[in-house]
Amino acid sequence: MRMMSLYKDRNTIVHKIDPLNKILYILASILITMLISDFKVLILTLVVSLLLLLLGKVIKNVFPIISFSLIVLVTIVIIQGLFNPNNKTPLVNIGQFIFYKEGIIYSFLLILRVLNILCAFSLLILTTKPSDLIENLVRRGLSPKLGYVLASVLQIIPQMLSTMDTILDAQRSRGLETEGKLIKRVKAFIPLIGPAVMNSLISTRERAMALEMRGFNSNIKKTFLNEHDETSFDKLIRYLLIALIIFTIVWRLVWLK
């Protein structure tokens, strides 16, 4: 049974970067792309993200994520190209539809923003084990209980889904109809709910007991099995990112005037 995650296990420097820094990187990317509408800056940040993904050997895994959002991106181009209120200069026409330069440029800006944010998120998601991310946040003050919930949900939901499958199989072998018309299938689903809910209620209570026996509610200050030495490199990156975030905000405020 696996965790629900997109994490790709590789041994690269990007994987070793402190998860908090990756979160800060997302924050910086969002701020830069939202606050600054300069093609050069947006392309630069996108290139940086892509380089980092390349360094993390996960660049191939980003493409499915991007192509998944392709429909949205194409829609943006069409709608903006046709209907942007600032449209003045016709660029091309396909049949009776005229695409305008202003709208197309604006849609490229939007697309760059989306790509920037997607890539920044991908960097975190593809190169950080969810459990490491959660443990890191717990160390920095996230409540251990919330941390447990987050970590266990990622593993226990696939577990519960497979329990549902087992129950479904059992019911099916007793002659339950699960194929065919929608109504039929909905009806077939109802007898599943009882066992599934009972099952998870009982296992929730048992798990709560088991956790209790493992000192889950102890007031002692928790320690961690895994070591976590923040390298001076990690610290340096963190300060740089924070500086970048502050600089972006200040620059935007000054520039606006």
Binding site: M1, Q159, E212, N217, T223, L225, E227
Partner: protein, 283 residues
């Protein structure tokens, strides 16, 4: 000094009409292996949970009497404090996996992290527990990828690493195949050799007779009898309490074969000895 002292323990679940535990008193010494038997609904699980303080702290309900573990009364202490003295292993191996850890090794660490142990001490204890439960070769596996027997041994290892002096096991083998069951029995008997007090609810009476020093018979929330396996299984009213004796005992009962103390044998070895002796005697 007795490790476990139970005095006049009564308990009723919230909304329930009858008592789940009705005036139970007994003592268990350090290092003893106690088996608990009784029909469904006899109160075995409730008693186990009362020993660890989960009843009443977790369930509330009406509670009377005292459970004292190692000099500490459970109702006057917190569950995390009691869990350092007495650990519990449940029926379903699945629900005892925390689900938040990715490897067997880290899973065992879960309780130790909550205890606030130093990293070196944690590693020492985890290695020891892995060895004791014969899980070392699986230490890097995902807990959910283990077999039932392995998972149950992991649950035991996770408790053992916290170094409680007493461990309570509530039907730990009932959801396991024969292979998994014997793995667990072997592990539990190793714990007994290390001097850990063991309380085990179990339907496999043949195994229980082999390992247990004393057996407790429960029925309808009452303690019917608490004695050596041969005394318990030599009773002729076991059927009234919905339990059966080991097959060897049943065989000897059917042919009226008792030892010199007037008791029936409870293990295969005892039964064979007795049959051999009887033959020599008659020839």
């Amino acid at each position: 000094m007795a490790k476990i002292v139970v005095e006049g323990l009564k308990y009723r679940y919230p909304l329930a009409k009858k008592l789940a535990l009705n005036d139970i008193s007994f003592e268990v010494d350090e290092g003893e292996f106690i088996g608990i038997i009784g029909a469904n609904g006899a109160g075995k699980s409730t008693l186990c949970q009362a020993l660890t303080g989960i009843v009443p702290l977790f369930f509330k309900g009406a509670y009377g009497g005292r459970v004292v573990i190692d000099g500490i009364e459970v109702t006057k202490s917190s569950l995390s404090e009691i869990s350092l003295k007495i650990g519990m292993v449940l029926q379903n191996p699945f629900t005892q996996i925390t689900g938040s850890k990715l490897t067997v090794y880290e899973e065992i660490a879960f309780g130790l992290e909550n205890m606030g142990l130093e990293r070196e001490e944690m590693k020492r204890r985890i290695d020891e527990a892995l060895m004791l439960l014969d899980l070392y070769k699986h230490k890097d596996k995902n807990p959910f990828d283990l077999s039932g027997g392995q998972m149950q041994r992991l649950a035991i290892a996770s408790i053992i690493a916290m170094q409680p002096k007493i461990i309570v096991l509530d039907e730990p083998t009932s959801q396991l195949d024969p292979q998994g069951s014997s793995e667990v029995f072997k592990a539990v008997s190793d714990l007994k050799k290390k001097g850990i007090t063991i309380i085990m609810v179990e339907h496999k009476v043949e195994k229980l007779s082999e390992y247990a020093d004393r057996i407790m018979l429960l029925h309808d929330g009452r303690l019917i009898d608490f004695d050596t396996p041969s005394k318990i299984f030599s009773r002729d009213d076991l059927k009234d309490y919905g339990v059966v004796e080991p097959v060897f005992t049943r065989y000897c009962k059917s042919i009226g074969l008792k030892n010199e103390m007037g008791l029936y044998p409870v293990t295969l070895d005892e039964a064979v000895d007795l049959v051999v002796k009887k033959r020599e005697h008659s020839s």
